[in-house]
Structure formats: structure tokens, C-alpha cells
Symmetry: C2
Subunit: 287 residues, 2 copies
């Protein structure tokens, strides 16, 4: 596999960075994951905007140029993938550590871009819904990091490990105030009392591009949306639930903490949004 | 500078790891910092025990052998430092990323050990106390990560940056329940009503080896200790306050959020504990 590292296309095994990079020592980095449909990144400008926002949030001095990134992604897609859908991750790390434990940086950041064939979620997730747990570990609603896609990602990995340990597919995390926040790499929606509900950004979540797109689709389809502070009980009593994630789109949730959600999975609104999402992608990307 | 990387002593610029290491992509790593007094690490066994606990907590399969680590530290001290006190950081990263976003690991971890001359805290911290702010960003009391020394360290860096932006020396963080937790790389103590007070580990703090040592010294000196859930107001009304940190020992706090703490800084109990700490180090290490 070829990857892009700081301006060059190199073999994966040549993509090395100094151990003394702030990204290695402190998890000081920003990343973005983008789905490419037949080689075309969906909502690329929004992903880039969020990436640049993250860079500003962590005071990276030199966020890379948008066109450089676009060209690198195109080139890697043609080398590594060629046809079909692909997964892209771009990762920017903090650069050489100079003793500062603040966000002050003297060294330039390191940028890696990876494009690989998309490994789709299991088909049965879409046909029957996934099984989720609500783990003990919480999102930190009191940290600006919760709304940045930083490489401080262990919290979600611990949650997903708990899901695996308990025989489930994924985890839906609460914050310290016992309010639902998000999945381990996805945003949460559920349908109740005829409303499409999703946690408020203040619950300690990363507002995803797919979440944003689904909210747009709700408006277009005339579905009423409520953004709020919800308990696990409200989710368990919902008629439908789904997660949104760039690489997987709209993913139905069948079971949470052993309780079946609603009477049928995927529920009718989940299906409608899932189809509308696919339609939007095709239209926007002309594929 | 020479460093230890996976069994070898190499030049710092040869200490490279793959960009696709879980440590780079997700901040999946454990570290430990140890102060060496004239080449001898203080409470080395306790630091190693905590390092190994962290490895178990994050399910690292092969924590490195204790003697290997000890020998590497000794060798690096003699090469890089030679005399006087030194700072040691050992960092273990998660190894090659295989697509798993859980704690399941297929690849061996990467271990880096660095030993450099100690850069002491500014002398005026000890003579007059440091100035701290209580930033908006919170510790996550609902995550086991808060009690592990992981390379997900950005939260503390953001807090310390806020301190720098506001002209202060350091930050003391609250958790989401508005209770005091710890400094950005230190534990908090204060003296009030004749008691030595320190936040309860459930407040979302990393219980440091220096904190542990100071608690031992309190018992030895007959000082009553209370561990609890404290507000910023309780700290502002204290008679004395100090931070504990392996590399800096007992560091007096003079001012918090613009309010002077107590009537004199360092306060009498802070000074007593600071001297007792130095005495204990000399005795234990025979220096």
C-alpha cells in the first residue's frame, strides 16, 4: 500500500515518524475520515472545514493546503483502490516535542493520508440492526476535545472493547450527567413520539458530517427534529434508533442493553432516511 | 542524545515508529515519568508497578521486563547525563494498527525510554509559590483513563495553555461535578482547619507516586489527612496549597484565580512536607 506523508507518496513501511513527535507522546493530533464513493469524496469541503477547525482548536500553525490534500487523495485512490468505494483517513500530528506541555508548537506538523478499499459494515447490521451496550465509561462533556476529532481516541476504544466483551456490536456512551452522547465512532438518533431525536452537541459529542446531512434530510422530508438531553430510558422506549457514520451511513440499532428497540428494525423512518441519504450521495456526486 | 527503542540504544533521530502505530493514530499508549537523583530512580518499583497496571488496564499483551527497563535507564543516564539529577520518560505505544478500534492488539508494542538532565522548576516556584488558574476544561471523572497515565494527554495540555494565555504558571482542573481533581501534571493538596486535604481518586485524578509518598509522610509526621470532594471555594479559603509531582516534588501554590492562598507562601506545613520529602529521598536512595 502507498500512503501520502508530508508531500510525498511512499510505501506504507516507509511512513515513519519520530517517536518524540507530540502525536506519539501526547496524542496531539487531528484526524478526519472520509468515504469515497467510486473515488469521489462525499462532502469533501465539509470534512476539510472540520479538519481545519480542529487544527485551529489545537493551534496547529500550518494546516495543510486543501488542494494538496485533494490531489493526494485522488492519487492514492487510483494507486491503492482503482474502483469501488474507499475509506480515507488523514492524520495530522503535532510535530517534534520541544518540552512544552501547552499547545505552543515550534516544529511543523506531520501529515499522513491513507486511502484503502472500503470495508463495509456487516450486511446484517443494515438488515436487522446492530446490538449496542451503554458502557460504564463516559464522554467528557466538559472538554472542548469532545467536539474535536483528535487522536486522543482511547475513551471510545475502551467503550467498544466493553461492547465486544459483552457480545455486542457497539457502544452508545453517556456523559457524566447521565445523558446520552454518541456511539464510539458515530452519532445517535432515535424516533419517539413522531419526532427524530438526537443528543444536543453540549452532551459531549462530535457533531459528524453524516449527522449534519441526516438533519438536512429530515428538514427536506418534513420530519420534525428535536435536539436535547436524553436518558438511556428514553432510548430504550423509542420506536426506532440508528447511528450515523461517514463510512457506514445510516446504521439501524436493534437492541440496546438487551432491550429490543421498537417493533420492527430497521424502522420506517430509519429506512426512509437511509434511502434518502443514498439518493443524496448519488445526486451530489453524480454517480 | 541516545534513547532506548525496542531493545536497542540508538540516536534520537533514529528513534522512528510507523505512522500506522495505534499510538500515533489513537493515542493508544502508556507512559511513566521518573526522577533520578544522582542517577538513582526514586521509588522505581512503584513507578514500574503503575506502568504495568496501565499496561493491564489497556490490555497491552507484552509489558516489557522490569530489569530490561532498569538496565536501559542506567545505561542512558551514564551516556546522556553522567552526573546530577535526571528526568526519565518511558513510553509504550500500541503497535501496528490492524483495523480494530477496540483494545484487541495483534502487533507487539513499541517501547521508547528517554533519560535527560533534569530541567528543574523555576526556583521562585519554591520560594514564592506558583500562580494557578482553574480553567473551563474539565477532567473526566467517568472514565478509567483518568487514573491511567495514557498518551491521551491533550486535555491537560489545553488546560495548561489556558493558564499560559492568562499569564499563570499552571492550571488546577475541576471535574464535571465541579469538584477539584488535579493539576495538569501534578496532584493537589491544601491545608485547611488543621487538616491536609487532597481530592478523592474518584474525582477523576491520576494518583501520583509523589502524592502517595506525601500521604505516607503526613502519617509519619502526625498530620491528619482528609480525602474528599472539594470546591474551588474551599481551595481559595485554604491556609496553604501545594502540588506534588515526581520531577518537582512539593511545589507551593501562592495564588489561585487571582486570590492569594493563606497568609504566607510556602506555608509551614508545605515547608515541613517538602523538607521531609527531601529527607526521605536521601535516606531511601542513600545519597
Amino acid at each position: 500500500m502507498k500512503v501520502y506523508l508530508n508531500g510525498k507518496i511512499v510505501n506504507e513501511d516507509e511512513a515513519l515518524i519520530p517517536f518524540m513527535d507530540r502525536g506519539v507522546l501526547f496524542g496531539d493530533g487531528i484526524f478526519e475520515t472520509i468515504r469515497l464513493y467510486q473515488g469521489k469524496p462525499f462532502r469533501f469541503d465539509r470534512h476539510l472545514a472540520r479538519f481545519n477547525e480542529g487544527c485551529r482548536g489545537l493551534r496547529f500553525s500550518q494546516p495543510p493546503d486543501d488542494r494538496t490534500i485533494e490531489n493526494a487523495i485522488n492519487e492514492l485512490y487510483h494507486i491503492n483502490v482503482g474502483e469501488g468505494d474507499a475509506y480515507c483517513r488523514m492524520t495530522l500530528t503535532g510535530g517534534a516535542y520541544d518540552g512544552s506541555k501547552t499547545l505552543k508548537r515550534l516544529a511543523p506538523p506531520n501529515l499522513l493520508i491513507v486511502v484503502t478499499p472500503l470495508e463495509p459494515y456487516p450486511r446484517h447490521f443494515y438488515e436487522k440492526g446492530l446490538r449496542a451496550v451503554v458502557p460504564g465509561i463516559r464522554r467528557n462533556e466538559g472538554s472542548p476535545l469532545s467536539s474535536l476529532k483528535s487522536t486522543n481516541y482511547l475513551n471510545s476504544m475502551i467503550a467498544k472493547q466493553e461492547a465486544a466483551d459483552r457480545g455486542a456490536d457497539d457502544a452508545i456512551l453517556l456523559n457524566n450527567g447521565d445523558f446520552l452522547a454518541e456511539g464510539t465512532a458515530s452519532n445517535l438518533f432515535f424516533v419517539s413520539r413522531g419526532l427524530v431525536m438526537t443528543p444536543d452537541p453540549e452532551c459531549g459529542l462530535l457533531p459528524g458530517i453524516t449527522r449534519e446531512t441526516v438533519l438536512e434530510l429530515c428538514a427536506k422530508l418534513g420530519l420534525s427534529v428535536e435536539m436535547g438531553f436524553y436518558s438511556t430510558e428514553e432510548l430504550l422506549g423509542a420506536d426506532e434508533a440508528f447511528l450515523t457514520v461517514s463510512t457506514g451511513e445510516v446504521v439501524p440499532v436493534a437492541v440496546v442493553e438487551g432491550s429490543t428497540i421498537g417493533e420492527v428494525c430497521p424502522g420506517p423512518i430509519t429506512l426512509r432516511l437511509s434511502r434518502a441519504y443514498k439518493g443524496l450521495v448519488q445526486k451530489e456526486l453524480d454517480i
